[in-house]
């Protein structure tokens, strides 16, 4: 008996769905485990993404807290929810508002990169704040899970084929709109 496998296509909505589910799973440890630990004069503190954002807010750094909250908590969640909605819309068929769905996909594709903010932030702080016993910052395992979730969401977006949002095969139009 021989098994025959059809070749795996990266650009397919089933691949996108699998990657999105994997990203959602990775977001759980990413939000539960500490991403950074800070040791200042013997006082040790570990922060998750959310507790770090709350701490920034308490320190009065509201703008920074809002940026980190948007990039690290809102964007991954919104991106996964949006991708799920698009995949469900394709699965159900009978697409009514393809233009709006396509715009949603374009927005999700654009905002995804900003989730990398927390990863670059952790890398920068880990490299800079190394003052021995006075003050030290270390990256923790949560940031690895978060990085995996971000990479998986980016891959899921790439794997999604937005042409599936349009019911009819693409004909040739007379001219594009010039603005």
């Amino acid at each position: 008996m021989s098994l025959r496998f059809s070749p795996v296509r990266f650009k397919s909505n089933s691949t996108a769905a699998a990657l999105a589910v994997a990203a959602a799973v990775m977001l759980v440890p990413a939000n539960l485990l500490p991403v950074l630990s800070t040791e200042t004069s013997g006082y040790n503190r570990s922060d998750t993404i959310f507790s770090g954002t709350v701490e920034l807010w308490r320190q009065g750094l509201w703008v920074i807290a809002a940026i980190v909250f948007a990039a690290s908590i809102c964007i991954p969640a919104v991106k996964l929810a949006g991708l799920g909605w698009l995949l469900l819309s394709v699965q159900r068929g009978g697409l009514r508002d393809s233009r709006r769905l396509t715009r949603t996909f374009a927005v999700l594709d654009f905002v995804g990169r900003w989730s990398m903010l927390d990863i670059f932030l952790a890398a920068f702080l880990t490299g800079l704040v190394q003052f021995g016993e006075i003050s030290t910052v270390q990256a923790r395992s949560g940031i690895v899970a978060f990085a995996a979730a971000v990479v998986l969401t980016v891959l899921a977006t790439h794997a999604f084929d937005p042409r599936a949002l349009w019911p009819a095969p693409a004909p040739v139009s007379p001219n594009p709109c010039q603005t």
């Binding site: 996909f105 900003w114 903010l117 890398a123 490299g127 003052f131 004909p171 040739v172 010039q178 603005t179």
Partner: protein, 207 residues
């Protein structure tokens, strides 16, 4: 204009006839409104100029200090790869590689690829005969995040403002300038070079 020259929307797959765009003009998909092509305001060589400028700036960005931090007389100099090295030494090697790729190597590779694609066109009046380059550019665009790294450093500086004495170094400004050059090069990128086959295709093609 040849009949076989088309602009294809990257999102909905709708195909349009190729058209001539004026400087600053954009071509939108007639079906989904996605921007398919744009004619840059800075002239035909802008992408090449910005790409080479970005590549030149990448060297001081990598070598010069990003940030000098001092606390109780102890001064620490952070460079572009200091964080990558710290993560690597911390045992987080995959994360270090990701930060290195997205923050340093891939932006430079993207600039280099765009320059490489434009140099033969500039010198010989004909697009590079390397079909792999446009595809490489599209892949790299999704993984090169220098602007996100700039924002991360700014956030870190504001976060550390009260804890340590900070001084921004020239490396960071060079990196910011490189990120700006990358964005401008992408905006000026001539997508006609991606579809060089039809000689009559005038200014643009699918992104």
């Amino acid at each position: 204009m040849g009949n076989d020259a088309h602009l294809t929307c990257r999102l909905c797959g709708y195909r349009h006839r190729s058209i001539r765009l004026a400087p600053g003009e954009r071509a939108l998909c007639a079906r989904c409104d996605t921007m398919m092509a744009t004619e840059g305001r800075f002239g035909p060589d802008a992408a090449l100029v910005f790409s080479i400028t970005g590549l030149i700036l990448a060297l001081p960005a990598a070598l010069l200090p990003f940030v000098n931090a001092g606390k109780l007389g102890d001064v620490r100099v952070s460079r572009l790869f200091t964080g990558v090295g710290a993560l690597w030494n911390n045992g987080m090697r995959t994360l270090a590689v990701l930060v290195f790729l997205c923050g340093a190597l891939l932006p430079v590779a993207l600039l280099g690829t765009m320059a490489l694609l434009h140099v033969p066109a500039h010198l010989r009046g004909r697009a590079a005969n390397i079909r792999l380059l446009p595809r490489t550019i599209r892949v790299l665009e999704h993984w090169a995040f220098p602007e996100v790294q700039v924002l991360a450093v700014l956030v870190a500086l504001m976060k550390l403002g009260d804890l340590v004495d900070l001084a921004v170094g020239p490396g960071f400004w060079c990196y910011c300038a490189m990120a700006v050059c990358l964005v401008l090069a992408q905006r000026s990128f001539d997508f006609e070079l991606c579809n060089p086959a039809p000689d009559t295709c005038t200014t643009d093609a699918a992104p």
